[in-house]
């Protein structure tokens, strides 16, 4: 595995991880923009724009984009999050250059009005699809409640109304602000030749606009701490999401944070698994760590028989409280590490996963980490770092959202963030 990087004169960064033994090669454009970078009037534009990029350029109409990707057997798609919009494709090595060409081309879209209106319908369908999925909806509400006025609370999809109201010119304006070369990283991973790739990529992107794309309001938040019950009579299960603050993406504590989430709420063998799922009190329970630019959060969620909700909330609070006051054992930490390491190794076998990993690590840390380095970092995490995490972040400051058939739900008393034993000595 060798890593290469190049900064182009227009500000575009090109990086690549060459894995000669891979059977495929992946390539992707990572645009550092998402719902947090939208104004209120533009709500949903990042995601809508992501769709529009597949609708054609000066060179290709929408059908041609799809045809050209399919012609080279590409596995391709895109996604939009609060902070990133990523376009990617993986192919057999011989088509890597073609995939790069098509992706580079669609990154300069025509945004034709007719396509804009047609795709609006598709976006509204997508919103409708998610609205029928309470397990997903509750997360959108929970994020909004936790982040409150922080831009990370912005919805990625927007609302049906905000999409209807959106004008093509607003999208164009957003595009010109956000899709400038310095705000984009071109990433490749897998079996490809770096020099050939670089030469081709530079040529394809040389005319991209130079400039600066700002991101405002980069700050931490400990969340609103509120509790909200959303009654939805048509569902059978009660869904709950509890969010508390955690370290931001650039923090060295991010590794400890991932392990901590795994110990608390991995889908198998975690504390929440044993206290909620194994005994059938909840259908599922999970804790995961989400890291952002300047902020971070732990999302703890479960779904259960509505009658059981209050009791389950008490159990989750008790589990977190115990982790804070009594800490974790060496054995638990080792078990969590084994799980993470195995997942890293297995994910590393697929170039598509490596592309995401290499790309995101670069976008957030401006660093490259090989699979081995990534594993070593996790191996080095010790109980002291977990303790630091517990000391530094108020993990019991929970913002709780619940959605389901319940018309009433009492939030249990949350114990005060306890003094952590180690902290008293320092």
């Amino acid at each position: 595995m060798t890593f290469h990087q190049q900064q182009c004169s227009n500000g575009l960064t090109i990086i690549g991880e060459v894995i000669p033994e891979a059977r495929s090669a992946a390539v992707g454009f990572f645009v550092r923009t998402g719902s947090r970078d939208e104004t209120v009037e533009e709500s949903g534009v990042s995601h809508f724009l992501e769709h529009m990029l597949f609708k054609g350029t000066k060179k290709r109409d929408a059908a041609q984009v799809n045809k050209d990707f399919d012609k080279i057997g590409a596995n391709y798609n895109a996604f939009t999050s609060e902070e990133n919009t990523v376009f990617y494709a993986s192919t057999l090595p011989e088509y890597h250059q073609d995939a790069t060409e098509i992706l580079a081309d669609i990154l300069r879209p025509s945004l034709r009005s007719a396509d804009f209106e047609m795709e609006k319908k598709v976006i509204i369908e997508e919103i409708g699809m998610y609205e029928d999925n309470p397990g997903w909806m509750v997360f959108d509400h929970a994020r909004k409640l936790f982040f409150a006025d922080h831009p990370l609370g912005n919805s990625v999809l927007g609302t049906t109304q905000s999409i209807i109201d959106l004008k093509r010119d607003q999208m164009l304006d957003y595009f010109q602000r956000r899709y400038i070369a310095s705000n984009i990283t071109l990433v490749a991973s897998g079996n490809f030749n770096w020099d050939t790739f670089l030469k081709k990529a530079e040529k394809l992107t040389t005319n991209w606009k130079f400039g600066m794309a700002r991101r405002d309001h980069i700050r931490q938040t400990s969340g609103s701490g509120e509790f909200k019950l959303l009654e939805k009579k048509t569902t059978t299960q009660q869904n709950v999401v509890m969010i508390c603050p955690g370290p931001p993406a650039a923090s060295p504590l991010r590794y400890a944070a991932n392990l901590f989430a795994m110990i608390l709420g991995d889908q198998s063998g975690s504390r929440l698994y044993w206290s909620l799922v194994d005994n059938g009190l909840a259908e599922s329970a999970d804790c995961s760590f989400h890291e952002y630019d300047g902020a971070g959060a732990f999302y703890t969620s479960f779904s259960c028989d509505p009658k059981q909700t209050h009791k389950n909330l008490e159990i989750v609070i008790k589990q977190i409280h115990e982790l804070i006051t009594k800490g974790i054992t060496e054995e638990e930490l080792e078990q969590a590490k084994s799980k993470v390491l195995s997942r890293i190794v297995r994910a590393g076998e697929k170039t598509m996963n490596r592309l995401q990993e290499v790309g995101m690590t670069w976008v957030y840390l401006r660093k490259y980490k090989s699979v081995d380095e990534d594993m070593q970092t996790y191996e080095k995490v010790n109980l002291r770092q977990i303790q630091q995490l517990i000391e530094r972040y108020p993990l019991l400051r929970l913002t709780t959202t619940s959605m389901g058939p319940l018309a009433k739900l009492k939030m249990p008393e949350i114990p005060k963030q306890p003094k952590v034993p180690n902290a008293q000595h320092s």
């Binding site: 799809n66 047609m118 319908k121 369908e125 409708g128």
Partner: protein
């Protein structure tokens, strides 16, 4: 005169094989259903034997006595017995009585009365059969040998045990029949002086009625969910790659027909796809689309129309694209241990061997516009199974 052997697997997984013997005047039909003693629940060994006895005691419009008379009336020699893997229903008669036999056998398989009043007597019979082994040391020793030598449940004696018989209730028996008497895995073999086409048609009518059907689930949702299914060929079938090709014309990549026609050109929905799904004996194409209520009817209509349009022609460029797509995913799979572990097991399960990559590649290469077209014409779905969910029922067409 050369013997002719025919074979057909119906949409519901039932297999019919037949051998024409023009020089004879009789015909024998043999039905094996995967419901032998290997399927007996652990606490009820012997239930398959009990079922094989009671299943002849009335079926369809005939009670026990009437059924027996009807079979005697056409000179049908018959028996029904449980073995290790199968329950076997067998009957021989003059070939001209074969159609009547099939009618009666279909009733026995699909509509047995399993009369509650006969349970105790049938169990008594079975108990006596078990006891009689005691008087036959030769048989007893061989049964013991089988029991020790073969892994459970293959070494089990079909007669079961006295305790097992005691535990059998009418309810349990009915459940066992319902669970195990299914078309998939059942084989009907016929030999004798027969005509294939009428035989096939009768078996299809009696034992494999068209599976198409529609259903609507009312639910107050934003979107209407649409599911469509229709039969396809199984994994090892000669047409398998042509079938995969056809599915990919519909839904392989974003330039495929469903995505282009339903989403890209009309903006009817966010998600629409078709995929091939199979079991050992039966396979289907499954389609999905989810869309807001107002657009649901058009979505369904356009989707069905696209499936129907396959027989009107396949383009060279479509085949070119889908072949590269199939090859890419096959080769890229080689990268990850989890994907490979899955696919070698799938090969082994369906084909009894793991195919080398070159062979798969060759099969993909063999896909042509012609092979796909021939396949979709032969297997042009007559009936669809359609299920919708949402707050408005749709019209399902003809």
């Amino acid at each position: 005169m050369a013997k002719q052997v025919f074979q057909h697997t119906f949409d519901n997984g039932l297999t019919l094989i037949a051998e024409n013997m023009p020089h004879v005047r009789s015909a024998t039909i043999n039905i094996i259903v995967p419901a032998g003693c290997a399927y007996d629940p652990a606490n009820m060994p012997g239930i398959s034997s009990v079922l094989s006895e009671i299943i002849l005691r009335g079926a369809g419009k005939n009670n026990s006595k009437e059924l027996s008379l009807a079979m005697d009336g056409i000179g049908l020699d018959r028996s029904c017995s449980a073995g290790t893997n199968h329950i076997r229903l067998w009957g021989a008669t003059l070939s001209r009585n074969l159609p009547k036999t099939i009618d009666l056998f279909a009733d026995i398989i699909l509509k047995p009365h399993l009369p509650k009043s006969d349970i105790e007597s049938v169990k008594l019979l079975a108990a006596q059969e078990i006891m009689s082994i005691e008087d036959d040391p030769k048989q007893k020793v061989m049964l013991a040998l089988r029991k020790i030598h073969f892994p459970s449940p293959l070494g089990n004696d079909r007669r079961g045990t006295l305790e097992g018989l005691k535990a059998i209730t009418h309810d349990a028996l009915t459940k066992f029949w319902k669970k195990n008497f299914r078309p998939s895995g059942t084989i009907i073999s016929v030999a004798g002086n027969i005509e294939w086409e009428p035989l096939k048609a009768q078996v299809e009518k009696k034992l494999s009625p068209g599976k198409g059907g529609t259903s609507h689930i009312t639910k107050d949702t934003q979107q209407v969910q649409i599911g469509i299914a229709y039969p396809s060929v199984t994994y090892g079938h000669k047409d398998f790659y042509a079938a995969i090709g056809a599915v990919n014309v519909l839904s392989g990549g974003m330039s495929s027909r469903l995505f282009t026609e339903v989403r890209e050109k009309r903006g009817l929905c966010y998600s629409v796809w078709a995929s091939y799904q199979n079991f050992k004996e039966v396979a289907s194409v499954i389609c999905y689309a989810g869309t807001t209520t107002d657009m649901a009817q058009e979505t369904l209509d356009v989707t069905l129309k696209q499936i129907g349009n396959l027989t009107k022609g396949i383009k060279e460029e479509e085949v070119k694209r889908l072949k590269i797509g199939l090859k890419s995913s096959m080769l890229i799979q080689e990268e990850s241990s989890s994907a490979r572990a899955g696919s070698i097991a799938v090969d082994w399960y369906y084909l009894g061997r793991v195919r080398p990559l070159e062979e798969i590649q060759k099969s993909i290469d063999s896909i042509t516009t012609k092979s796909i077209l021939a396949h979709v014409k032969e297997y042009n779905p007559k009936e669809f199974t359609i299920v919708t969910l949402g707050n408005k029922q749709l019209k399902y067409g003809k």
